[in-house]
Amino acid sequence: MSHKESKQRGQIRQAPENFLSPDLINDLSTHGLDDKRRGFMRNGLLAALGGAVGVGSSLNAFANSEGDPAILEKQVWQTTLGKNVATMPYGVPSIYEANLIRRESPGLTRVSAASVAFTPLQGLFGIITPNGLHFERQHQGWYNIDPDKHRLMVNGLVKHNRVFTMNDLMRLPSVSRIHFIECGANTGLEWGNVAVPTVQYTHGMLSCCEFTGVPLAVLLEECGADLKKGKYLLAEGGDGSGMTRTINLEDMLNEVIVAWGMNGEMLRPENGFPLRLVVPGVQGVSWVKWLRRLEVGDMPYATKDEAVHYNDLMPSGLSRQYTSIQECKSVITTPSGGQQLLEKGFYNVTGLAWSGRGKIRRVDVSFDGGNNWKTARLETPVLSKALTRFNIDWVWDGSPAILQSRAIDDTGYVQPPIKMLRDVRGTRSIYHNNAIQSWKVESNGEVSNVQVG
């Protein structure tokens, strides 16, 4: 900690202990408090308390002094009047949460309108992704589309080509369901080797929201769709990229939602306001944003993102086309790559598990690189094609450890090690890497991304 940094800190004040010199802190942690050092510390604290409104962890040494100034001293928020209601008519996170934002991976893309911003999974709790942190993947930039000018057309193998306004759609019977959305290329940078440092970049093209909308089946029935001949659905976006993807109606029909709601409010513009397709279990590119048209057809469409991208290249040179389902996967989110443990002792190790084929049945965690495993606690709710949160106790003894999680879904599928996937698919398929993730904890407390085997 340098004093230069402390000056840049803006509104966030230093905790009183930061006014102790690093040398003294080292000395204290090595030798404990004797009378001489206690005197130094009291002086340091007195200087600090002149203007400090401290937060943060206290020195264990407070047990031997008068006590923790965070308790003993009256804080400004205890002795003055707080802010008015609706000071922020649309609330934003605490200023102390400023580090947890969506981020681009430097060098991954060359044009920011065709790029991706990753969700900071390392700081999130539970299974719901806050709307402002939902990952973003844009193919040709995003727009705030005027909902009064937005239309949904349904055509193709239907009795009636129909047009719906947002007014129309939002009058229909709606459902609200919690589902994960994962980009098919999530973890795609890691097929060959470790490439990025943190879970934000390895797994952050992943989010989970409660989506509200009208079931696709209701709309198709309303238009008199011929579902005997029409086994495929083309979904088309209303933006400049005119994103198009083929949906396999035969087995997705009953779960797809034409959605406008996201965690209780309208979709965010960067996530498709005012209308997007929700295709549970299927990769994010098929969840077409700014949805303007649905066409029922009798063959797949081989659109650009089915013919040039989002194909999985196999070692033979053949590409698997129309790979869509996101197979069972999990990742430990804390502790995870790039994090720094401060001390030995008890930790709650936590992470996320999900499957595009159904519910999570079990998650096992290893602390020794996959040699021995313990079953983690699954937190409720455990929902089909939604993120599931797992937790497990860990007492870290300070020696190096390799943490892994392994999910099993209700089809019995077990999340594979990376080597097993590579043996079948090679290292150049970009998409659908659902391998077990390994995080190494060094004895200095730093956690890093590693691959074993």
Partner: protein, 355 residues
């Protein structure tokens, strides 16, 4: 028409007055939700139903020559993709990596060559309809849907000529495109034999749920190289600065020992809007990058050209505001009248002096 007229009358008689303002026909025969939605008229369907399938359903009549394609390409496409669609500057190359032999076999041999540095569009694409559909619906990048049907035929013909799929004097049309499909280099390169298309599909790996003594010797095969430690910025600033899981300060080497609970977290700087933020927010970055040419010139090139000239800031503000072309090539810059003068001055000043 008679039926439709009757329906209109029915609606009026039912006093569904809110609906009667709708200029288009309502159909109630099979609809369960009364008063919701309406039939699309043929012009509307034609305007939006622009997709072209692999069997060429949806392809409009038209044609375009390789020669015409080259003209369109140089005016509309080359600035991003390079004159010969080979550029790797802004997007991955479109042409390259295919051989006359691939055209015979329908399999691109270089796709199974691990040393092949790039996978170009023409190495990957199996269906010529995908090229036509996408170029027509979404290109050029900054002016989607501005190519006519014939221009699209011409551009596809030019690309296929660059890959030696069609000869120099070829004219691609709706009549011969199915023949061209039979020469696509990777037409046999796709497979649907996998488990990821249907939710009932079978997985291709079967891992074990072993619980004890599963891997007697754990070997680390890959780690992040030391030089990449700070390549994603300081990780300390990407984690909470309180609580048990701080971020490591990647601007410095790893700590020599466990820091203890006194470790001071990296500083979170309250977000201050920078000129660079303005540059991004106003979409300048869609066409201009710092040091490389995208659709428009790089910021460094602009600064080098104008820096030090008298009154240049006002002059450039006016140019950015009005848009135009000529100085850096034929691709026009759109007008930016929506950006405030204050922001424009800040951005131009920053380009000339600070970035």
């Amino acid at each position: 028409m008679c039926k439709l007229a009757k329906l209109f009358i029915l609606f009026f008689m039912s006093s569904v007055l809110a609906l009667s303002v709708n200029a288009y026909a309502e159909t109630s025969a099979s609809q369960r939700y009364v008063g919701i939605g309406r039939d699309a008229n043929p012009a509307e369907v034609a305007a939006w139903d622009i997709d072209v399938r692999p069997d060429f359903k949806g392809l409009p009549k038209g044609s375009g020559s390789v020669e015409q394609g080259q003209k369109v390409w140089e005016a509309r496409c080359a600035s991003c993709h390079g004159t010969f669609a080979e550029s790797n500057e802004v997007f991955t190359p479109i042409v390259g990596g295919t051989t006359p032999d691939d055209i015979k076999t329908g399999r691109v041999a270089s796709l199974s060559d691990r040393k092949q540095p790039q996978r170009t569009t023409l190495m990957k694409v199996a269906t010529v309809s995908s090229l036509w559909d996408y170029i027509h619906r979404a290109m050029p990048w900054n002016a989607p849907r501005s190519l006519s049907d014939d221009d699209t035929f011409a551009v596809v013909a030019y690309l296929l000529n660059l890959a030696e799929v069609v000869p120099d004097d070829f004219i691609l049309s709706n009549d011969n495109i199915a023949e061209v499909q039979k020469r696509m280099p990777n037409r046999n390169g796709m497979t649907l034999k996998h488990g990821l298309w249907s939710s009932k599909g079978q997985p291709d790996v079967h891992a074990s749920a072993c619980m004890n003594n599963c891997v007697p010797f754990v070997q680390i095969g890959s780690t992040l190289p030391d030089y990449a430690r700070n390549a994603h910025g300081n990780i300390a600033e990407q984690n909470r600065e309180y609580g048990p899981y701080r971020g490591a300060d990647t601007t410095k080497p790893p700590l020599s020992s466990l820091p203890g609970s006194n470790m001071v977290a990296a500083t979170a700087h309250p977000k201050v809007q920078t000129v660079e933020d303005l540059f991004k927010e106003n979409n300048c970055s869609a066409c201009h990058a710092k040091s490389s040419k995208l659709v428009g010139p790089s910021l460094i090139d602009i600064a080098n050209k104008y820096r030090g000239q008298a009154g240049v800031e006002d002059k450039l503000v006016a140019k950015v505001k009005a848009g135009g072309s000529g100085v850096w090539g034929v691709i026009p810059m759109p007008a930016n009248s929506q950006v405030s003068d204050e922001s424009l001055h800040q951005i131009v000043h920053w380009i000339l002096n600070d970035q």
